[in-house]
Symmetry: C2
């Protein structure tokens, strides 16, 4: 049996070591990783991917850890993909999240994987999706994807998830207003963590105000989810929007396990909306389309860079000497591939 097939069989058999190896194959784009992913695909269907984001200090890891705990209490198999802002060079990932989550490390029904944000051809969102797929094939019913909510790539990671939870906390600072603007459009559910601190109510109020401003009508809790009309939601990035889904703004205190059950309920309502409503279905198709385009982009450049390696090297030499502009050089490359 080849190494790839061994890994495949191991993942399907639920062997944690094989799962770890498969994650690494995929994360590092080893030869054969696409075949592995294709073989795992049918087994990965039906899993629910939740993106969890928020600025440093809002309590992402604590909240993630609580969600794991509640999902485990409901006897669901869970995976966590922690996307760290660590080095694209080091190949390593921070241990911080692991330490904070050590309660779950001993549980054989929980798999935790840290991703370094590498400079992979396909980008971080590509790798995250593929690792989540491996973990789904292993049998994770829910995959929690935790990411820092700053940076373009991180926003793209959120688009990989079915449901995106954005965490805020009172007094998280103005530096992050800009990030918020992006997050506002990404969020399917908002939660204000540390709701026992002063300013929590006004933070929630502020969020609702911003949601109303951008046309994404925020509810005031899970109870406010049903029965409202569709909110017009401008979106330039996806054709299928959240139309018909009202983004709720909840509150919780992750540290004291308060409000987590309600939060999980709201998240589940979103997932069921995705599966049952027509707009939810359209969003799923759009998500697949985006994945195809991203995958196509990665494969294409891999194929062409491999095929035309020496031509690229020669052209780069000429461009760096100023003899040729890079735009003309790329036309030449496309021409050689019969694509112009």
């Amino acid at each position: 049996m080849s190494a790839e097939n061994e890994v495949l069989a191991g993942v399907l058999a639920g062997d944690m070591r094989a799962v770890a190896r498969a994650c690494r194959m995929v994360d590092e784009r080893w030869p054969g990783h696409l075949e592995l992913l294709a073989a795992l695909f049918s087994r990965s269907r039906g899993s629910w991917w939740i993106g969890i984001t928020g600025a440093p200090g809002v309590g992402k890891s604590t909240l993630t850890s609580r969600l794991v705990q509640h999902l485990r209490a409901q006897d669901q198999r869970v995976a966590v993909v922690a996307v760290d802002p660590s080095s694209p060079f080091s190949g390593g990932a921070l241990l911080g999240d692991r330490i904070r989550m050590q309660a779950h490390w001993a549980d054989p029904e929980v798999f935790i994987r840290s991703l370094a944000t590498r400079g992979a051809l396909g980008g971080l969102s590509r790798t995250t999706a593929d690792v989540a797929r491996v973990l789904s094939a292993w049998g994770a019913e829910v995959v929690l994807i935790e990411t820092v909510g700053v940076g373009q790539d991180e926003l793209e990671v959120m688009q990989v998830a079915h449901t995106t939870l954005v965490i805020q906390a009172p007094g998280a600072g103005d530096d992050l207003q800009a990030a918020k603007a992006g997050l506002l459009e990404c969020a399917d559910v908002f939660v204000v963590n540390k709701a026992d601190l002063p300013g929590a109510d006004s933070a929630a109020q502020h969020l609702r105000g911003m949601l109303a401003l951008t046309g994404v009508t925020g509810g005031s809790g899970p109870g406010a989810l049903a029965g409202h009309g569709a909110a017009a939601r401008p979106s330039t990035m996806s054709e299928a929007s959240n139309e018909g889904w009202e983004v709720p703004v909840l509150s919780c205190v992750a540290q004291r396990d308060e409000g987590i059950a309600e939060l999980l309920g709201a998240l589940r309502q979103h997932f069921s909306w995705l599966s049952t409503s027509a707009t939810g279905q359209a969003r799923r198709v759009e998500r697949s389309r985006r994945e195809l385009v991203a995958l196509l982009r990665e494969r294409l450049s891999a194929v062409l860079v491999e095929r035309q390696e020496s031509q690229i090297a020669q052209l780069a030499e000429r461009v760096s000497r100023g003899e040729l502009d890079p735009y003309a050089a790329v036309q030449t490359l496309l021409g050689s591939a019969g694509l112009v």
Copy 2:
């Protein structure tokens, strides 16, 4: 005269409105933007691109503003490209940097451009390079590219620059250790800003220690640049490394204009090293190669997505229903394009 040609003529004539329009064409990937860039290329040669990065609060904008001031005192034409962590959806960029830099707005030899981090096909680093090229063709001898130092995309922006300056400040917090790990490998010059605050010396010491640990021997100032042996520098992202260049760690107080002249001197030494040493030359070729690959990737997916739009939509439909895995779907697409 076509609109593109009018813009081209305007940029070459130094018309600021035409420059603004060209930046927008490029940033938003209008039809004809590649032809415009190709036409501008020969005029953009020789310009020096400096990437400036650091966590929020280290004083990036103040320091950038000081560098502009010193460069202007040396009678150089300067452009600033501010890459904001703002919404990929909103299409807008923050005014913060503009306000802080208002002293330079009235100067016709300074051009300031804010980029929103859009979800463009080619990615933020692609757009940044192209905007910098427009500004170089306008006649900017130095282009300062200011970016938040967190996130994969932001690290890639740094690779666009010839020289990368990483700013630290005392007490900037441990949350950013991870980002530092990536920045450590990106930096050509380090500076500890706010050197009048307690902890500045130990921050510089800490940096030098980390540089030594990773094999990038840090000097102790511009005086330490010359005469040292080459430092081995592990790098997984670029073939041509900083070998032969010792990364200096300087100090400054941007607010009080202290240490800026020395900093600019160190940055200039790096640029001249790039042009005169063999390893510097190799790095320039590698930079061109990276640009070609990035451009190729963008063009390729644009060509294929356009050509195969309806096929992609059909396949996405099937993938979302679980009838087909996305990896097989992409093989089908590549097959239709005659690429497998």
